[in-house]
Structures are given as C-alpha cells and as structure tokens.
C-alpha cells in the first residue's frame, strides 16, 4: 500500500494546473484491469479524475518520457517521481537530454511496487479484481470464491526488494516524508554469480540470454539508452542485427548494451521489469556498477547533476585490466 493516495496526487496536479504552474501532467492512466496502468499525459481535471490512478502497480519510470514530452507541452510538464526515478532524472539532466525549465517535478514517496507476475505465481491466472487494503491486497480470481490475501511485501518487484534509496535526489516539491539512501543487498545476486565457477556462470547466462527475443523493450525503456540512432538499428554500423540469430548475437547485444550504459545506469530496474522473457538484465548492469564501485570508488549515477561517470574519467593509478580477476585472492 502506498502512503500517498491517488486523491492527493490528483489534488496536487489539479492545483498546479489551475495556478498555471504546469500545462500538462505525466501520470499513470488506469487500464482494463486493476493492475494494469499505462503512462499518459493528462491535460485537465476531468481527464485526471476519470483516468488517473496510483497504486502498487505504478512502477513506470517517467524520466525518459521527459525527452519527448517536454517538446510536446507548451508550458511546464508536471511529473511525479518516485525516489528511484529521480536518479534517472538527474542522469538525463547531466546528459542534457531535456530542458529542466520545462519540468515541474514532484517527488512522491514509494513503498515499493508490486510485480503482477509474482502475484500470479501465488494466486494463478484469471485475476478479476485487486483491492488494496493496508499492507495487503485482496486478489479475486475467476476461479476462487474468496479473495486471496497477499502481502504487498511478498510480491515486490525485484528492484524494490533491493531498493537502493528512498531519498529523492531531485524535485521541485516533495509530497510526504523524505526517506534515506538504503544500504541494500542489491549486489548479493551478483556476488553469488561471481562465486560460481566460470562453467556454472556460462551455463547460467546461456540459459537466461537464450530466451531473448530481441524485442528491444529493455533498450527502448531504458532512461540511459537515449541515442537518437542505436548502433544496433543502424545498417551502416556493420553490427546491426535485428534478431538473436545465434547465441553470439544474443550475448553481443546484451554485453554491448550493458557496456553502453555502464557508469550511466542508475539501476532503476526498468529493463528487468519490461523483459517479456524475464531475463534478469539488472544483473548485468549491477555487475558493472559493483565493479566500478570497487575499482574506482563508490559511484551512484544520477546522485547529483553533473557527476562524471567512471568510464569517462581516470586516475594515474587505476587497477590494471589483468588484475581485475584476482581481486578475490588479493583481498583475502
């Protein structure tokens, strides 16, 4: 259950629209089902009251939309940012991807967003309604008479289980209480993989990446992937590929994509959220983040505007590429 309610957000949006601070609102629009929300632009109170929603399934990170939508709105655009979204927001500002003057950012607290796939793993397919009630959600299916009570904490999306920060690093206005940066366990999975033998790791990734259908959802949703023309779409790049023709191309796409966002990835987790095949793409990004933290000092992309990412920086005494494999031994 979120601490802030739909009504509060609508009220805020309506008042900002009314006093002319903003001319449109980027928010979540309700869909066919209680768990189904679509990002949308709202222009007035009627639209907000009719379709705006805020619940445990509003995971979409709006930051990337600001690139295209700030050009579409005449005045300022109101955007609601969860703590993790604010990091992407800052990172995009660092890269001069949108005009800060055209955005009015309202920070909203987030108690973690639920993953519908996890809900379905508990209560099965055929959800007819979800009612939010305190820490629990009551999920009614077409097949059971009584609703199944599910604790939101049990169905949190992976990125929320390992939430890295409840603190907003960018906003014009904050609703609710400010949180803290969390000492999360987000690198545990990475460490687990690192502890495996190369053969086991290879088998793990082979299994995961072989499911890739190259729909490009991870790329298109990623707030760090903002190239006008992706190298993989450009026939003149010589590496264009549209499909995972074999295991090499599957790997190449994901390695290169992760590398391209390395140092700029804020670990917002959108890539894993949207993957239709549930490939744990965040494990690739987190590996880079973890490595760079260890090699070059703690760094959180988007923590401040204007930070210099590790891969576009250097010191005279950096670790040698040949030494990165043996860290485990030398640390001991």
């Amino acid at each position: 259950m979120q601490k802030i309610t739909r009504e509060q957000l609508i009220e805020k949006a309506v008042s900002l629209l009314a006093d002319g601070t903003v001319s449109c609102v980027l928010g979540w629009s309700k869909g066919e089902f209680d768990y189904d929300v679509t990002p949308a632009l709202f222009n007035n109170e009627e639209e907000l009251k009719a379709n705006f929603v805020f619940n445990d399934f509003c995971g979409v990170n709006f930051s990337k939309y600001l690139i295209s939508k700030t050009n579409k709105c005449d005045g300022k655009i109101l955007v609601f940012l969860k703590p993790c979204d604010t990091y992407s927001f800052n990172q995009l500002l660092t890269e001069h991807r949108f005009d800060r003057e055209k955005v009015y950012a309202v920070g909203i607290p987030c108690e973690g967003m639920a993953d519908i796939a996890k809900v379905k793993q508990i209560c099965g397919d055929g959800i007819s309604s979800i009612a939010f009630d305190g820490e629990k959600m009551a999920v009614t299916t077409l097949y059971d008479d009584a609703p199944v009570m599910i604790s939101t904490a049990d169905v949190l999306a992976e990125r929320c289980v390992n939430c890295k920060s409840k603190k907003h690093v960018a906003f014009d206005e904050l609703m609710g209480d400010e949180g803290e940066v969390i000492d999360s366990n987000r690198f545990d999975e990475v460490e687990k993989l690192e502890a495996m033998t190369p053969d086991e790791r290879f088998a793990f990734w082979q299994n995961e990446l072989s499911r890739c259908i190259r729909c490009n959802a991870c790329r298109d949703v990623c707030p760090a992937c903002t190239c006008e023309k992706c190298v993989f779409d450009n026939p003149n790049s010589g590496v264009e590929n549209k499909s995972p023709a074999n295991s090499f191309e599957e790997k190449m796409f994901h390695i290169i994509r992760a590398f391209h966002v390395a140092g700029r990835c804020t670990d917002c987790g959108e890539c894993s959220r949207v993957c239709p095949q549930n490939i744990p793409l965040h494990l690739l990004n987190r590996k880079f983040i973890k490595d760079m933290n260890e090699f070059y000092g703690e760094y959180q992309a988007g923590a401040e505007v204007g930070l210099r990412a590790p891969l576009v920086d250097y010191t005279l005494t950096d670790i040698e590429p040949g030494e990165v494999f043996d860290r485990g031994d030398s640390d001991a």
């Binding site: 290879f202 190298v231 090499f248 590398f259 670790i319 040698e320 590429p321």
Partner: protein, 144 residues
C-alpha cells in the same frame, strides 16, 4: 594417423605509436613470436571499443590482446588511461558471463620493448592454446 595440431587465432590490437613499433622491433631483432598473432594497428589503444573485441571473437579469434603505450606515455596524453578503465570493466564482464578470462589481455608495450612484445605474445598464445578453441563466444556461421 596425422593429428592436426591446434593453432589458435589471436588478434592483437596494437597502438600505432608504441606497441606497433614494439612489434616492428621484435621483427627487426628476429625475435620469434607465433604467426597466429594477427596484428591490427589502431591509432591509440583507446580506439578499441568493446565491439571490436566481441567482433574479433565472432570472426573466429580464440584470444584478443590489446597493446598500448605504458600509462603516462600515451601519444594523445590520456588515451590509454581510458583503455585501462574500459577494458577492466569489459573483461570483468566477460569473465562474469563465464568466458575464460585467459582469452583477453591488455599489455603495455613501448616502442623499445621488442623483447617484451615477443615474450608477451608467446606467453599469450601458449595460454590460449592450452584453453583450446573459443567455444563460448563463437558464431557458428563464421566457422568454415
């Protein structure tokens, strides 16, 4: 029965200013290093982007080595410092994906270090030969 001895294919990206000259010196001094090492000259070691490395593997390389000026000696002042960071991150990622770490290497070889160049290549080829063919980052379509 004749057994074909396995010979790996090694791609060596050598920076124009130091390592390529180092390779030259190795040749001039008649120092032996395996013919399986195919040298690609690049203006600076930081010209090598991760795609080059992956594409070399795709096209049949069994090992990829990047040679540049010693840190501090870059012709363009700082190119090799970036190489150092990028390749550290990339190689660590390849290792994470289960690709044998012995197949990738970065070495700093100056124009005067013909002997080091030859020794490095001999050692690298030996290590890769021991690993055998690159199976984990191969593109079967490119195999004859």
């Amino acid at each position: 029965m004749q057994v074909n001895e396995y010979k790996p294919l090694i791609v060596a990206f050598c920076c124009n200013w130091c390592s390529y000259a180092g390779a030259d010196l190795a040749g001039n001094n008649r120092l032996n290093y395996p013919a399986e090492v195919k040298i690609i000259r690049v203006p600076c070691s930081c010209r090598v982007n991760p795609m080059f490395v992956l594409r070399a593997f795709q096209r049949g390389a069994d090992g990829v080595i990047i040679c540049g000026c010693h840190p501090g000696d870059c012709h363009y002042t700082s190119g090799n410092y970036y190489t150092r960071r990028r390749m550290a991150a990339l190689f660590s990622m390849l290792d994470y994906l289960g690709i044998e770490k012995e197949r990738t290497r970065v070495e700093w070889v100056s124009a005067a270090e013909g002997a080091k160049f030859a020794a490095t290549m001999n050692d690298f080829v030996e290590k890769v030969t021991a690993l055998g063919e690159n199976k984990r980052l191969e593109d079967l379509r490119c195999k004859k």
